[in-house]
Structure formats: structure tokens, C-alpha cells
Symmetry: D2
Subunit: 335 residues, 4 copies
């Protein structure tokens, strides 16, 4: 870690800072420039509070040279983490597609989608039971009943299930859920992350709408600090000024994350784009970028229905997507 | 609400949409353009799910003409809400300054700050006991002990206290706290908001780092939907590309919020700028923009301390700020 | 176009607005809601000034239903535009890779890169002669001499060349340049766009760092309004809060643009990511997303050189990229 | 300047980098950490190309410790620059209000506005003759004729005038203009900036919509590098995700700029908010934040006119604003 001191810093104050740092077990190298003095801090700075250091009167700025994330860091754990749920593996060369409706709506809906996505090659069933909605007046999901319907579909199809948690107090309802999802809006709900670190189920952690990759990794670190290392990261788009898509899918995040961390990384093009006809090309692009899996919204398409979700594919569309993604993965395998 | 239908929409599908809307108690006016047909929906559209409507195959886009927030809406509640805690009033012409340290650190620290900010004219004592930190390795606050220290300072000075909650399960610890703060990262922790709506203490709701004014009001609506209308909104800066300040203080939000809602609006220039020497001018600007109060970080300044917080004022600085703000408020009163 | 009038709008003012609109040749449909009246404007609204209409006292908001871009609009020109330079075609199924150094530095450098990228399959040589730099103290390119060196490399290899223009007064220097590039910072330099519309060379128009897809299309429209329809659009990343990459590559823009416009769309992963090891996966992803071409920075790698550009590939890296992209394109062709 | 080397950097490569830096006249201090080696570069690094250094294979990151702007830097020019036009002074305690219509429309319009804003205390007349518009189909201003009308109003009222330039080739038309404005979209039109540095008229430089304060100062540096030090900086709002205001006014930029540079800083609340009723409170806040002046849109209000600009004040509104701003400035003077 490097601390740049303010111009004209008093020697005595600098010395007392250096003593304070050494008392924390750090070596301090001093480099005096024309305008500024720079301190190089050597040793275990992971537990040093950057904000505190930056707040010191004589400090102009602080720059971490080593990463603030440890458990999630590939430098210290070079091998890919492989997350397993039943027979399904994610990461380390194992590609998994999680598919299903945005919200669980009825026994018929979830049963039909489950059998269709399984037939098309999905390995995990997704479906929302607790739905975070911006407005308290919008539909909030079927809640406990939604989880029951998912579990029923799991028994019928054998597919493991993933669904979102919004409150650690609901954990008992998730006992038979296979992967617990943390949504974008809760990525920095540190209390929830901490609770999920204390239990053993795999966690699917979505990137927040305006959060950086480093913040995503720090949130993974919260879970891992509790002992749970079964984490799947999910890129699902960030806020930009663009309005033709709901968010902007950041596919370079897949490559950056693969470099920084050993955790598997999947991509959700349905939420990122918010438009069903953009989902297939973005799924193909995600596969080409090296994603370890996909999360895709699929909704049945009864003939009379008004409602194909703007971001949901029909089961037929989903089959086409699976074929296209397989072709891309096959091509990419050998390059 | 207006729904724009896609070019070349099938008449039959349009009619079945219109029937579906009428079945929901809405009047539908049809306006046929050269390229598009537009439906004007008249009636109580507050409970109509915009995303669902937007997701219909034949719908190109949906535009709300009336606001999605009701309880917080000034149109329906023209008079300013005045939040009261003991003798302190906030809103409707009552200006309140909440001041204190970022984190409660020790009995001496909080006692000294409390007496100094009270002497300078603050009407509420702030201090962090539960601290949301990006890294699990950073200091997380004194937690329950921090609240005890705040309550002791409250008894000594008579100042009501405000402190942040991160988990609804901690509510019993907040029994003697006067105002419960929801931090920026929890602005869309809907489960927490809902719980705070079921209890009766005033809530200080901070705007999220990348959230819009409308989203802030929808989060207030979550609390109000539970019956708690004692809400203070707080502008504390949004994420932009600027790096000289930690965030960008959006003072126009004060004016916009005063127009849209009857709830009081305060400003936190300490967190927004992250730099103590920018706090006073931004506090003055907030007062000139019509804010109903301020939240200011103040830290004692013992002679040997390394640490003046980069964003914290000394008690002396705070006194100067209070005089400057009073002068601006006096000038503004008569224009 | 739809104009939503303010609540409680005076009838007389509304009627004078309607007369004013009808005098502009528009039909006006009136839809009266509980809170708001909505005007549907039918006819040629392309030349109606939205900002002016929005600025009227009685108007709350205006929503365009039809797109403000005409010449670039696929609705009116369903067939793909194919841009031709010599034997090279871009768009309509023709894929072109433009490669070369960020800056032209010396005859040897550009000659070596040109022969290497040609051998690897590039069809256009890129290289900067006029360089837009944030600081006036940074290297600004070899200017006229740089163009001379590019032209020499063109004669040697037969590759057409593309290079950036920063000032319409320099146009005479571009007489033998094949494609004129407009950089991200000049995307809304409307005077430059207008001049480029008056000449006949193809223009490569890069998306601005914080510009939307619609703004990109409106800038293309500026060029097309002058009569030049040979435009290649280029996605090169937008500003977000992420710092591991220089910008965030928006690959969904490729899909959106293919839907909205008939113009070819290429992707520049070198500038977007700013990191050479992310360029190949992003190039593959761009190909999977359906891009019509790529722009790639390649720099020779003399043994003693300190400087491999952080975002430049070596010629060997570039060959590997070309093989990978070909494999992806082959896979994608059949899905 | 600090250069952090990559983990496991080869000694020989490091030594050749150090030799290269010393050959550029810099002293190099080496600090070896557990994971990284850090080089402290001492001497005149202003002309060292950061991007080049960052692009070296062995360099992980580079951090400037001293600022890249020199002529604009308060460290080297502690006294405030005062820009003078006729009797009007801006900066160094001199406060100036520039007011007038968004576009010059007719002799009557500009004459009426000019006399009204002068009477209310404005010291400079503003008005657009060349208008940058996103769409080529929107009104582009009266151009040369607009400048003629401004000059006529100048002769009538004695007010100096400010108007925007979009093309250096138009400079001859600006011979009698007093202050030349560079709009937000041209803030990084480096060729235009360079031309304006070669002439002697004061330049009003507006911050770009997504540009940082440092980038604004680097653009000022472009002008100053040519010898023209008469620059007024203008904060006019930045792009954020907020939609109730057109842009988000960044008033903390005023304070930051006063610290970093000696150049005067004015604020344009009309363009920033885009809504006339937010202009007065934001003008008052700007005055409280220490701005050196304001730029305000004022439009006459003929009884039958449909069009009060959404962001323009009437002359009566402007008088009220001037009184309010004077009251705030009076209050602020003594704190």
C-alpha cells in the first residue's frame, strides 16, 4: 500500500504516522519527491482501514497495491472453484444453464416451463418466489407458496432449483432450495451476506446495478469470511445512460473476473437487456467471452396469453438459444 | 397512463388487451397515428403493473402520466409533513441540524462531541453504531455497545439521537433511539423498509448512490404503506465520474423533492463530498437551496490525534459552519 | 408524438396550442384523463422541435413515438448498407477487420505492422496520425507525416487505410485516405459531421464515451443529411463506474443497432477495455453478437522494446485472435 | 509520480525501465514490497506520457502525485485570475451575471431582453447564434445574423456579449464579440481549443456532460498553452441517472475548482436543471457555494406567446432571482 503525504507535511506528524504504522506490524519505506513524500507500506495491509488512513490530516491519498479481497483472490487460490449441486457442476470448465420464469405464477406454469427447459438442456430451474419490486403496490411474488411450487417442479423433473432470498429470516423456507440467489439490490446488504456465509448452500451473487467488480468481490468476501466458499458470481448489467436496453451488459466483467477470482461467473442476459430478442445474441456473446453459465428467463406461451414477458423467451426460443450457445462453446473450446 | 402499441398491431390482439384493461376498471381511449396506435388509460392505474403491461407482445412502451407514489405525493397531501422528536421539529419551516461522529468510538469521544455540537446549536446527535463497510475486514462499529454510548450521551445532553439500522432483527436495540436511519446501501432493502413501516419511530431515509429521486420516493412509499408517515429524506450524493469528491451532491434534488413530496428533506454534505473543507460551503448551499436540515460529521480533535477524519469537522469548524448556515437562512427567509 | 398536458390546463391555452400544431400540418387527437389531457400528434413530426414543444408552459412532457432519425432508420431502408473501399466490403454479411498501431510512429513500425496484419487476414490498416489527447503536453501524433507513412504502407501492402480526422480544415490531407474516422470525443462535433456529409469518402463514426445509441444515430444522421450514406458505426465502450477496464464495452449495442439501422456496426475492443489480454475474448464475443467487423490495435514487438501497449496486441497475438474470431463466425453462421 | 510494477517483474526489464526514466531526467526511488515493487519518480514529470508508462508490460499502474495541469494550477499561481471585459470584471471577488435568451430569435426579442436584464443588474448579455443541436433537423440558430442582432443590442445597451462558437473557421464573425463560449459538447474539441488559445478574447469554457473536473482543467490548459489566460470556467450540470432534471448540477465543483485553480468559476443553473422553477434556488445555492457569477436564460414573455422556455425565466422572474442572489451574497460576504 502506498500513502502519498500532503505537500509541506510537518516532519513530526510524519514520524508519528510512521510509528503508528510500524506499531501495526508494517514496514515503511520513505520516498521523498520534489513536491510530495510517499510512504510504501509493506506487510499485511489487508486489515488496515484505508478510509481511516486516507482521513489522516497529513495524507493526500492512499493506493492499494495488493487487492483487498483474499478468499476470493485467484492469486492465493489459483485453481477454479467448482460449485456442485447434485450432479450439476458450475465452473472449472463446467457450463450450466439456469432457466425458468421470472416469477413462479401457478403449478401449471412452473411445471410446463420446468419440463421444457429440462428437455432443452437446462441444468438448473430458476423461478422467483420473493420478488424485489421498486413499488410496494406491484406484485411481490407468491413467497412461501412459490417455493413450494418450485420444490414440486424439482421433484417432478429432478432439476435443482435456484431462487432469490430477500431476508435472512426466511432461511428456513429455503431448506430444500439448492442455490440461494442474492439479487442486485441486496449485493451490499452486508447483514444478509453474513448470514449466508454461516450456512452451507451455494450462493448465486448478482452484481449490483451501479457496483464495480471490486465491490462484487468484496461482497463475495463477506460470504466467504463466514466459511461458505460455494459462490457463483453473476453479471446482469449495470446502469448506464443507454435506454434501448434496461441495463448495459458488461461482458468484459467475465474476463476480468476470471483473472481476479477462482469463483465461477455466469451471465444473465434477460435482466441485463430486458428485451427478449436481444437475449440469444447476448447469450452467445457471453459463451464466447468464456462465461461458466447462463441464467435465462423462459415463460410458457399459451395460445391465448397476452403476456410474453418482454425479457422472457418462449420454450421454443430457448431451445434455439441452447443450440446456438452449444455451437459457440464448441467453436471456442479449441481456440 | 399511456400505452403505445407496436406498428402493425393485430386488431384482435388489441381488442383483447382493451377488454383486459377495462376488466381492471380502466377507461381506454384509442388514438390511431400514422405509425402507431396509442391507448390512453384513465382511472386508478396506481395498482397496474407497468412492467407487466410493457411486457405484452403488442406494446411498444408505457408512460405513466400520474406518479407511482401516492402517500408521499404532495398532490394528495399539499401540507408539509413536520417530523417531531421530543421538542425538535423537522420540516414545514423547521430546520434541524444532526451532528456527531461517523462512528461512536468511546464514551469520552461521544460525550465530548455531544456537548460541543449541542453548544453550537445542533438539535440531534448522530453517531454510527452499526457501520456498513464494503470490506468484511474493516471496522464494523461498536454495535450494541455503540447504541448504549449514544443513549448515555442522550441522557447527559438531552439531545435526541439518530443512528443507522442494518437488520430488522436489531430493532429491539433501537427502542430508545429517536430516529432510525436507513443508509444509502439499504435504500432498496425492501424487507427492512417494510419492517420500519410497521413501527412508529421516525425514519431517516438516505438516497442510494445510483438511485433516482423517484426510486427514493418509492422507498419512502414502502415505509408509508405500512402506516408510518414520519419520514425524513436525505440527499447524500450520487455516483458520477468525478473523483475529487467521493460522490456528487445533488442539491437540485432538494428543490425537486419539495415540489413532489410533503416530506422533509435534509442534506448530508459530509458523506457526499468526503472532504472536510468542502462541507461548510456545501452546507451553506444546501441552506440556500431550501433544505430542512443538515447532517454533519463532527469529530473531537485531541491534540495528539493523528486522525481528523477527511470528511469530519472539528467542533470549532462546526461552530463556524453553524454561524454561516444561520446567516444564509436569515438571508433566504425574506426572498 | 404524444404531448401530455399539465394538470388543470386552461382550455383556451390548450386550444391555441392545438391550432398552432394543426397549422404545422399535424392532426391532433385529444384524450382526456382523470388528471391529465394527452394530445396525440399524427403526421410528419420529424421536423417538429421536441424541446420547443416540451418548453411550452402547459406541456408536462413529450414522447416521440416514431424515431427522430430517418436516413439511418431501418424502417425506411430495410436492406443492409454495404460500405465498399476497393475490394473490401463491410456490412450485409461482409466482415472486415481493421488493424494497426494506435499511433503511427516510424516508417519501420507501420511497415512491419501492415505486412503482419495483412498476412493474418486484416482487410484495412488503421493507424493514428492526428491524436486527440486529454493533455496538451502529451504526444499529439505525427500529423501530416503520419498520413504520409500510412499512404506508403498502403502502397506497399494494398491495404486500404483508416485514420482519424480532428479538424475539417485538414480534409485536403485525407485525399488518399480510404475511410475517415471520427473519434469518440468528436461524435457531437456537429460542424465536423456536416463537413464529412458534404464529401464522399466512407466515415467510421465512433460512439461517444457517455452517449446513447440514439445520439450516435443522430450524429450519423448529420452526415447522411449532407448526402454521404457510407457510414460505419463503431461501438468502443462507454463510461461506467468500473475501473478494471478503461471503458465498458456495450455489446448489446451491436444487436440494438442492427435492429434500428441498416448501417454496418463494428466493435473496437482495444480502446474499450484498454488491456491487451481482454481484447481477444471481447473480439470473440463481438463476433458472436453479430458485429460486422472489428478494429484492433496491433503493435510490433521488437525484442528490446519496453513498450507493448497495454491495449495493443503483438502480431502473434493478433493472428491468434483472427483464428478465434473465424471459429466463432463459422459457428455462428449456421445458427 | 509513482509506478507500481507487476508482481514477479524481471530484474533486467526493471533496470532497463529505470535507465529509460533516468534518461528523461527523472530521479527514481525504488521501494520493494512483499508483492510489488514501487518506483517513485522525482523531477519534472509533467511532460511524461502517463499512458505510455502505464502501457509498459511490467507496469501495473501509475499514479500522478502532482497535477497534470500547470498554467491553470493554483499551486503555481496562487492569486485569483480576474477576467475583464470593458468595465466588467469576473473572479477575485467580482461577481458577474450573464443573462439572455437561449437563442437569438428576432431584433425585438433580443432588444427587449437586453434592456430588461440590464435593468435588473446583469452585466453581460448572452444569446445563442450558432446552436449545437442533437438533430440535424432542429433549429440551428440564426448564425451570422444572430451575431449581428447581438452586436446591435450591445450598442444599444452597452452590455458586453457572450455567444457560442462551434467552428474555428467562424472566428472572423466573432471579432466584436466580448467573450467566446465553448459549449459542453466541444469541451474536448482540442483543435478548437488550440485556436482559441491563439487569439486574445476571453473564453467561457463549459464542462462537458460526462467530464471530470480534471478534464475540464486540462481543456483550459489547452487554451492557456497557446498564450490566452483569460478563461472563465462554467459548471452546467453532468449526466447522471436522474430524470427530473435535465442534468445534475455539481455545485461542489465550484469549491473544488476554487481550490485547484485561479480561474473564475461561474454556474449555469438554466441548462443544468432544464426547468425554470428550479433556476432561482440553484442560483442562490451557487452564490452560497462561492461562485464568481451566473449564466441565466431569460426570455421575454409576450402575452400571447405559447412559449416560455421550460428553462427560461421571464424578465420578472429574473429580477426576483437577482434580488435573492444579492441577499445570499451579502450574507455570505461576512462568514
Amino acid at each position: 500500500m502506498i500513502a502519498v503525504l500532503k505537500q509541506g507535511t510537518d516532519e513530526q506528524k510524519m514520524n508519528s504516522l510512521i510509528d503508528w504504522l510500524r506499531a501495526r506490524g508494517l514496514d515503511v519505506h520513505i520516498s521523498r519527491g520534489e513536491f510530495h513524500t510517499v510512504l510504501g507500506l509493506i506487510g499485511d495491509t489487508a486489515h488496515l482501514d484505508t478510509e481511516l488512513l486516507e482521513s489522516l490530516e497529513i495524507v493526500e491519498s492512499v493506493k492499494r497495491v495488493s487487492d483487498p479481497f483474499k478468499s476470493a483472490n485467484r492469486k492465493f487460490h489459483p485453481d477454479d472453484t467448482v460449485v456442485s449441486v447434485g450432479d450439476v457442476k458450475i465452473g472449472g470448465g463446467h457450463f450450466a444453464v439456469m432457466a425458468g420464469p421470472c416469477s413462479v405464477e401457478s403449478p401449471e406454469q412452473i411445471a410446463e416451463v420446468a419440463s421444457r427447459v429440462k428437455a432443452a438442456g437446462a441444468s438448473v430451474l430458476r423461478g422467483g418466489a420473493f420478488k424485489p419490486r421498486t413499488s410496494p403496490y406491484d406484485f411481490q411474488g407468491l413467497k412461501a407458496e412459490g417455493i413450494e411450487l418450485l420444490l414440486h417442479a424439482k421433484r417432478e423433473t429432478g432439476l435443482p432449483i435456484v431462487t432469490e432470498i430477500m431476508n435472512a429470516a426466511h432461511l428456513p423456507l429455503f431448506e430444500d432450495v439448492d442455490i440461494i440467489q442474492v439479487g442486485a439490490r441486496n449485493m451490499q446488504n452486508f447483514e444478509l451476506l453474513r448470514e449466508l456465509g454461516r450456512q452451507k448452500k451455494p450462493v448465486l451473487l448478482k452484481r449490483g446495478l451501479a457496483n464495480t467488480i471490486k465491490e462484487l468481490l468484496m461482497s463475495a468476501e463477506y460470504i466467504m469470511a463466514g466459511g461458505n466458499e460455494q459462490i457463483i458470481l453473476c453479471e446482469r448489467g449495470v446502469r448506464t445512460f443507454e435506454t434501448y436496453t434496461r441495463n448495459t451488459l458488461d461482458l468484459s466483467a467475465v474476463t476480468v473476473l476470471h483473472e481476479l477470482t477462482h469463483l465461477p461467473v455466469i451471465v444473465d442476459p434477460s435482466h441485463a437487456t430486458g428485451v427478449s430478442r436481444y437475449v440469444k445474441p447476448m447469450a452467445m456473446a457471453a459463451a464466447a467471452a468464456g462465461a461458466d453459465g447462463l441464467m435465462i428467463e423462459v415463460h410458457p406461451n399459451p395460445s391465448a396469453a397476452l403476456c410474453d414477458g418482454a425479457q422472457s423467451l418462449t420454450p421454443d426460443d430457448f431451445e434455439a438459444l441452447m443450440r446456438a450457445v452449444a455451437a459457440v462453446r464448441e467453436a471456442v473450446k479449441n481456440v
